[in-house]
C-alpha cells in the first residue's frame, strides 16, 4: 500500500490535535500501512503537537507497533500459560525452523511474520496458533505445516 501524504491526512483528520490521541492515531496508521515509517511518525507528531521523541518512545514501548514493514500473513503463536504447558514453545521453535525465520521477524520473501503473543484468550483450546484471522485449536507442528501449505 502506498504511504502517500493524502492517506496519512485522512487518518489524522479523525483526531483533534491533542497529544492524548497519540496512541490511537499510531494504531490507525499501523492498521493502514502495517508499520510506522519515520515520515508517518513525523506527520502524526506534527499534527498532535507532540515532540517526535515522545512518538518514538510510545512506538517502541508498546508491542503492537512495528517500525519495519510486516509480512502479508501474520502467524501468531500463543504463549499464554495454558499454551505454554501444552507445548506452545515447541511450536514456535518448529515454525522458526519450518519458515527459516526467527520469532518476531518476517520471512525474506515478506510472506509471513512469525510472532509470539502472550495469550489470545483461547486457553481452553491450547496450544493455539492464529494465522491471520483464523484460529488453529490444539495445534501441533504437523497440523501447522498442513495449514501453511493451504496459504
Amino acid at each position: 500500500m502506498s504511504e502517500s501524504f493524502g492517506n496519512i491526512e485522512a487518518i489524522l483528520d479523525r483526531f483533534p490535535p491533542q497529544p492524548e490521541h497519540l496512541i490511537s492515531a499510531l494504531q490507525d496508521v499501523q492498521a493502514k500501512f502495517n508499520y510506522i515509517s519515520p515520515a508517518a511518525m513525523r506527520a502524526v507528531c506534527d499534527h498532535l503537537g507532540v515532540p517526535i521523541s515522545r512518538g518514538w518512545a510510545v512506538a517502541t514501548f508498546y508491542k503492537s507497533f512495528s517500525l519495519v514493514p510486516r509480512g502479508v500473513h501474520d502467524i501468531r503463536v500463543c504463549l499464554g500459560t495454558a499454551c505454554h504447558l501444552k507445548g506452545g514453545a515447541r511450536l514456535v521453535e518448529g515454525l522458526e525452523r519450518e519458515l527459516d525465520v526467527p520469532r518476531e521477524h518476517t520471512t525474506k520473501d515478506m510472506r509471513f511474520t512469525l510472532e509470539t503473543v502472550r495469550c489470545l484468550g483461547t486457553c481452553a483450546m491450547a496450544p493455539v496458533v492464529m494465522i491471520d484471522e483464523e484460529y488453529l485449536a490444539e495445534a501441533n507442528i504437523r497440523s501447522l505445516k498442513r495449514e501453511l501449505k493451504k496459504i
Partner: protein, 620 residues
C-alpha cells in the same frame, strides 16, 4: 428503533419485544465463544442456516439461529442449545446441522449421539450437566444466551432495568451505600472494596468540583485468562449498564473502556453495543429523560501488560508510555487529566446492575463474608473439562478442579493449581481444601487475581513454570524502577541455571531472598507481586528445585537439558509420522516396525512427542 425518552417508554419497548416473541418458535443457539470459535463454530452456524433453507420450513415457524457468546464448556465445543426443547448438543460439527434440523426442529426428537455423556449417563439439558450444576451464573447470566450484537435481545433478558431503577428510585448516595453494603470487591485482582473506592472519589469531587471519570478495565493481560474477553464479547450491555449506573452515582459524564488489542471481537461487540445504546438514548444526553449526560469511548490497548495497573492505564489513556507512578495519590483522588477517576474491572462493572436489581443483602448472602458474590474463572490446563466457569466465592479448589473440571485426564490427582497469573502462585494438591476467596488465597501465598486458574499435572515442572512467569514479567517490566528492571533479570538468570541443572542449594536460598527484596522495593504491583510464582514454588516444591540442582533431573520431564526422549517399542505402531517430522532426521524405523531415536543426534525439540498419535514417545 426510536430514541427512548423515559422509563415508561423503555418498559413499553421491552413489553412489545416480548409480545412479538413466539415462545414456541425454535431457537438454535450456536456458541461463538473463544473456544468454539477456534473449533470452527462459525461454520456450524452457517451450516444451520443452509440446512434450514434447504428444508423450506414455513415462515411462521422459521427457526431462529442465534450466534451467542461463550456458554462455558469449551472442551466440548462447538456447543449448540436448541429451544424450546431445552436440548444441549456438544462437539457439533457443520455436518451435524442437517440431522439436528431434521430430527429436532422438525420432529421434536433429540439427536442422542450429540448429547453430552458422562459415566454412562446422557444429559438432555445443560442444566443437568455436572459441569454446570455447581456453578452460579450472575455476571455471565446472559453470556451464551443472548445475541450480543442485538440490544433487543439484551433488553428482553432484562438489560437496563437496573439502570431505570437506579435513575428513578435511588439517589447517587444511596447507590454507593448499596454497593458498599453488598461487599463487592474489585474483580481485576486487587480486591479493593468497590463501594469504598466510589465513596472516596465522590468525596474528592465534592472537595474539588469538576470532572470525574469512570473507566472499565478490560486490559486482561494475565496469560491463561479469558474472563473479561468472554464477558465483553458475550454480554457487552452488562458492562455498559454497570458503568452508566456508576456514572450516575459519581456524577461523571465521560467513561472509557480500555480493551487489549488482542481482543478484536470484544472491541467490535462493545462498539456495536455502545452505538445501539446511544441510538436508544441509553447513552448520550439526558438519558431516559432524567437529565443524566454520559457517554463511553473505547480505547484499544497497544500491547503492554503493565497497563492493567491503574496508573499505567491512565498514562496510556492520555497517549503516553504506560509507566506507573507511585500511589498515593490514588486515581480516586487524582487520575485521568488530574481529575478523580474510578477504574474498575469490567467484571466488577457487570456485577453492579445485579446488585441494584436484587439488593445488597441478597448479594452479601452469596459467597462468604469478606468475599461476597461470585467469581468468573477460566479453568484451563491439564483438566478434563476446561472452560469458563462462574462459582460462588468460598468454593474449594478441589470442588472446582475435580467437581467441575472432572480432574486431570489419566491421572488421579492434580499437582498444583496456578491462580492469579504472573502475580499469583502455585497451590499444591495438599492444599486442595483451600477456599477460593481473596483472603484464603493470599494466606497460601497466591492471589485471586483476575480469575485465571491453570491446572498442572505430574508432567509439568514447577521450575519451568516459575521460569515462564519470570520470563513474562521480565519482558513486560516497564523498566522504570530498578528492583523490578534488574531484579527480575537476575532472578531469571538463577532459574535458567536451575533449569540446566546448574547451581547449588545455597543458590536456591539466595534466589529466595532476592525475590523478597524485589517484592519490598518495587514501585508498582507488577514488581511487587512478581516473585509470587517463585516464592510459592520454592515453598511447596523445594524438593523439585533440589532434584534439578543436585541430581540434575527434571521430575516433570520438561527442562530440556535434563531429559531424554525414547520410543516405547510396545506402544509404537510404526506409523512413521515422527520419522518424517523429526528436524534432525534422527528417528529411524520402517513402516509398522517400532521406531528408535538416536539420542546423540536428538536436540530434544519434542516434536515427535507432540505428533505421535499413540503416545509412544516417552520422556525421562
Amino acid at each position: 428503533m426510536e430514541r427512548i425518552s423515559n422509563v415508561a417508554e423503555l418498559e413499553a419497548l421491552r413489553e412489545s419485544l416480548h409480545a412479538a416473541h413466539d415462545p414456541e418458535r425454535p431457537v438454535v443457539r450456536v456458541c461463538l465463544g473463544p473456544g468454539c470459535l477456534a473449533l470452527g463454530a462459525n461454520k456450524v452456524s452457517r451450516a444451520f442456516q443452509a440446512a434450514i433453507k434447504g428444508k423450506g420450513i414455513k415462515a411462521s415457524v422459521q427457526p431462529l439461529i442465534k450466534e451467542t457468546g461463550c456458554h462455558g464448556f469449551c472442551s466440548q465445543g462447538t456447543l449448540v442449545n436448541v429451544d424450546p426443547f431445552d436440548l444441549f448438543y456438544v462437539q457439533v460439527k457443520p455436518e451435524d446441522a442437517e440431522e439436528i434440523v431434521e430430527n429436532t426442529l422438525l420432529k421434536g426428537q433429540a439427536v442422542e449421539r450429540l448429547l453430552y455423556g458422562e459415566n454412562g449417563t446422557r444429559y438432555r439439558s445443560s442444566s443437568e450437566v455436572p459441569f454446570y450444576q455447581m456453578q452460579q451464573k450472575i455476571v455471565l447470566r446472559n453470556a451464551g444466551v443472548i445475541d450480543p450484537l442485538k440490544i433487543e435481545d439484551a433488553l428482553m433478558a432484562g438489560a437496563y432495568a437496573s439502570l431505570a431503577k437506579a435513575l428513578t428510585t435511588m439517589t447517587p448516595e444511596k447507590i454507593i451505600d448499596v454497593i458498599e453494603a453488598s461487599g463487592l470487591r474489585g474483580r481485576g485482582g486487587g480486591g479493593f472494596a468497590t463501594g469504598r473506592k466510589w465513596r472516596i472519589a465522590a468525596a474528592n469531587v465534592r472537595k474539588n468540583p469538576g470532572s470525574i471519570y469512570v473507566v472499565g478495565n478490560g486490559d486482561e493481560g494475565d496469560p491463561g485468562a479469558f474472563m473479561d474477553r468472554t464477558l465483553m464479547e458475550g454480554d457487552p450491555h452488562a458492562v455498559l449498564e454497570g458503568m452508566i449506573i456508576g456514572a450516575y452515582a459519581l456524577g461523571s459524564d465521560q467513561g472509557y473502556i480500555y480493551v487489549r488489542m488482542e481482543y478484536p471481537l470484544a472491541i467490535k461487540h462493545l462498539s456495536i453495543a455502545i452505538m445501539q445504546a446511544r441510538a436508544l438514548g441509553l447513552l448520550g444526553q439526558n438519558i431516559l429523560g432524567t437529565g443524566l449526560n454520559f457517554d463511553i469511548q473505547i480505547n484499544r490497548g497497544a500491547g503492554a501488560f503493565v497497563c492493567g495497573e491503574e496508573t499505567a492505564l491512565i498514562a496510556s489513556l492520555e497517549g503516553r508510555v504506560g509507566e506507573p507512578i507511585p500511589r498515593p495519590p490514588y486515581p480516586a483522588e487524582k487520575g485521568l487529566r488530574g481529575r478523580p477517576t474510578i477504574i474498575n474491572n469490567v467484571e466488577t462493572w457487570a456485577n453492579v446492575p445485579c446488585i441494584i436489581e436484587k439488593g445488597a443483602e441478597w448479594y452479601a448472602g452469596l459467597g462468604v463474608p469478606h468475599s461476597t458474590g461470585t467469581k468468573v474463572f477460566s479453568l484451563v490446563g491439564k483438566v478434563k473439562n476446561s472452560g469458563l466457569i462462574e462459582v460462588p466465592m468460598g468454593i474449594t479448589l478441589q470442588q472446582i478442579v475435580e467437581g467441575i473440571g472432572g480432574g486431570v485426564p489419566g491421572q488421579d490427582r492434580f499437582k498444583a493449581v496456578q491462580t492469579g497469573g504472573p502475580s499469583g502462585g502455585c497451590i499444591p494438591y495438599e492444599l486442595k481444601d483451600t477456599p477460593v476467596d481473596y483472603d484464603s488465597l493470599r494466606k497460601v501465598g497466591s492471589i485471586m487475581g483476575s480469575g485465571g486458574m491453570i491446572v498442572m499435572d505430574q508432567r509439568d515442572c514447577v521450575v519451568d513454570v516459575a521460569r515462564y512467569f519470570l520470563g513474562f514479567l521480565e519482558e513486560e517490566s516497564c523498566g522504570k524502577c530498578l528492583p523490578c528492571r534488574l531484579g527480575l533479570k537476575a532472578m531469571l538468570e538463577y532459574l535458567d541455571h536451575f533449569a540446566k541443572g546448574q547451581g547449588s542449594p545455597q543458590d536456591i536460598d539466595d534466589f529466595h531472598s532476592l525475590a523478597r527484596a524485589i517484592m519490598v522495593g518495587s514501585l508498582c504491583a507488577l514488581g511487587g507481586t512478581a516473585p509470587n510464582p517463585v516464592l510459592t514454588t520454592v515453598k511447596y516444591f523445594k524438593d523439585e528445585y533440589l532434584s534439578h540442582v543436585v541430581e540434575h533431573k527434571c521430575p516433570g520431564g520438561v527442562c530440556r537439558d535434563l531429559i531424554t526422549y525414547s520410543i516405547d517399542p510396545e506402544i509404537c505402531n510404526g506409523c512413521t509420522v515422527c520419522v518424517r517430522i523429526c528436524p534432525q532426521e534422527c528417528i529411524s524405523g520402517d513402516k509398522k516396525k517400532p521406531h528408535t531415536i538416536d539420542i546423540n543426534a536428538c536436540i530434544r525439540c519434542g516434536q515427535c512427542m507432540d505428533v505421535c498419535p499413540v503416545d509412544a514417545v516417552m520422556v525421562a
